[in-house]
């Protein structure tokens, strides 16, 4: 069970690239446990794809170590790939093949995947395998890519930008597929440049920037750092200024504004970052007609992390 304990273990992993050695990843430390879903978030060029391609042995580390499922990423690459599947960020198939031929080609070395399994996934993802892939939309190609990653029942799924091109309904289906494999004990590493895409499924998020692992946080920590927009309407619009004044003095609250006139007369809008308890204490002192707090803006949490390295 030692190999099952840790899906990914990177220690000071460095990969230098290009003529100037400026691209790549630097000193990356990362541990992904069995059954864990980890989101890898960063801007384009932050090193997400480089890290993932090193895991599949498409590129080799310059220094440091990388073990997957307890095995060395270079010397035991074939054994690793027996238990790991990969979805490339830029998915391209030979255009003239049908979906079925594509599946046969990219699962040729995985004879354990049954026709039944492929059929089940094709219907879950609602993808037609009889048409040439060149005729398929981006979203439908992406579905075939997901089918290829999920069909083999891998112990680790490495998914580069898995939800790009998927409509919201399919993003939900994808999220449930990820939860299912994680519940079955598989680990999932998924990347995105959009935080909201990993938010649904990842328990932890690793932020990458300029090739370095910038921060690894639980989703709830990221959410706690996020900025939420709020609105409160006092029962008596005349009290709006008083409420606004109190809010301005409350820890974590900013951008307080009072609307006057028209339909929004007496509505107080504000933003709150981090802990909300001080805000709640302030609000509870004022009789309110209504109050809403929006979902945390994770993009914002993400960028504030960039600006404020710990």
């Amino acid at each position: 069970m030692d190999s099952a304990a840790t899906a990914v273990e990177a220690r000071s992993l460095t990969k230098s690239y290009g003529r100037t050695k400026a691209r790549g990843i630097v000193d990356v430390d990362l541990t992904v446990g069995a059954g864990e879903v980890l989101g890898l978030v960063g801007a384009n060029g932050a090193g997400k794809t480089t890290l993932m391609r090193t895991m599949l042995d498409f590129i080799r580390p310059t220094s440091g170590t990388l073990r997957l499922l307890g095995m060395d990423s270079v010397t035991e690459a074939v054994q690793i790939r027996r238990r790991v599947t990969y979805l490339p960020g830029e998915l391209v198939f030979p255009a003239r093949l049908t979906g079925r031929q594509v599946v046969a080609r990219y699962l040729a070395a995985r004879p354990e995947v049954t026709e039944g399994r492929i059929g089940d996934l094709a219907s879950a993802l609602d993808v037609d395998l009889s048409r040439p892939v060149g005729d398929l939309s981006r979203g439908n190609k992406q579905k075939i890519g997901l089918l290829l990653a999920f069909a083999p029942r891998a112990d680790l799924l490495v998914l580069d930008e898995p939800t790009s091109g998927l409509d919201p309904l399919l993003q939900r289906e994808f999220a449930s597929m990820v939860r299912q494999v994680a519940a079955d004990g598989a680990s999932v590493l998924l990347s995105s440049h959009v935080m909201s895409e990993v938010e649904q499924v990842a328990r932890r998020v690793a932020l990458m920037r300029e090739g370095r692992m910038f921060a690894i946080q639980t989703m709830s920590e990221v959410i706690a750092k996020g900025r939420r927009r709020g609105r409160a309407r006092p029962r008596d619009p005349a009290n709006a200024q008083a409420l606004a004044g109190d809010l301005r003095r409350t820890q974590g609250v900013s951008d307080v504004e009072v609307s006057d006139g028209g339909q929004d007369d007496g509505l107080v809008t504000f933003a709150v970052t981090g802990d909300v308890n001080a805000l709640l204490a302030t609000l509870s002192a004022h009789p309110l007609a209504s109050f809403d707090l929006a979902h945390a803006d994770l993009e914002d949490a993400f960028f504030s992390a960039y600006e404020d390295p710990r």
Binding site: Y17, T49, T50, R53, L56, F58, I59, R60, A77, V78, Q79, R81, R82, V84, T85, Y86, P88, E90, L91, V92, F93, P94, R96, L97, Q101, A104, R105, Y106, L107, A108, A109, R110, G145, L148
Partner: protein, 262 residues
Amino acid sequence: MTLVRSELQVRARATAGWVVGIVLLVVMIMAFYPAVKKLPSLDSIYTNLPRALQGLLGGADLVSPAGYLRTQLFAFFLPAVLLILGMGRAAATLAGEEEDRTLDLLLAQPLSRAALYVDKAIAVVIWLTMATAATLLPLLAANSVAGLHLPVVNLTAACVQMGLLCAAASLACQAVSSATGRRIVGIGAVGYYLFASYLVFGLSTAVTWLGPLRPFTIWRWYLGNDPLSNGFDVTSVLVLAVASVALTAVGALAFNRRDLHA
């Protein structure tokens, strides 16, 4: 052998086109022979040429059955067609997939790079075998009808040695292309070698100081023994076969060492 079937499938339609084209080409050349045979004076066209030029054109003999096939098909035209097919496919098979960004997904499977490399090489050899058969079968079928009456073994030897020449060149192209991740590098390097060595081989009959270079031209091991007149040359067959295997081994090693382009 995991991927060979899929490789053949991806190119099935185009391969059928090549096979039909080659058959038509061979049939067309054969169809002209009865007319050429009645015009012995045609020989004078070639016999009056400088010897160096004769060498480049595949000899001076245009009217004898072996001479006709050599000058019109085997000396240049047919191997050129097969080389375009074989080298194009060999460059596309790994470097092309890398450039087209389809290689990552293929290699995400539990296959070693060497196994993938060998599967791809096998597919190239199968395509060239089909192209060689598309040359040989119409030759055998029309041998008597067109009035050539060449020994079956000689026709077979010419086709097999040509197929081996194309295999060695194509596998060299696969090695260079996949070692660099760029199709054009293999096609350029091997194409340049083939052209230069064709000149050396062709001119060496007339230009004596080029003689010692003949063993280094791949053409020497294809046409050097004049297979249409003399049948198989075991040494030539072995040289080309061993070169093909060695180039595949070297290519697989080089491909295994690289970082693949995203």
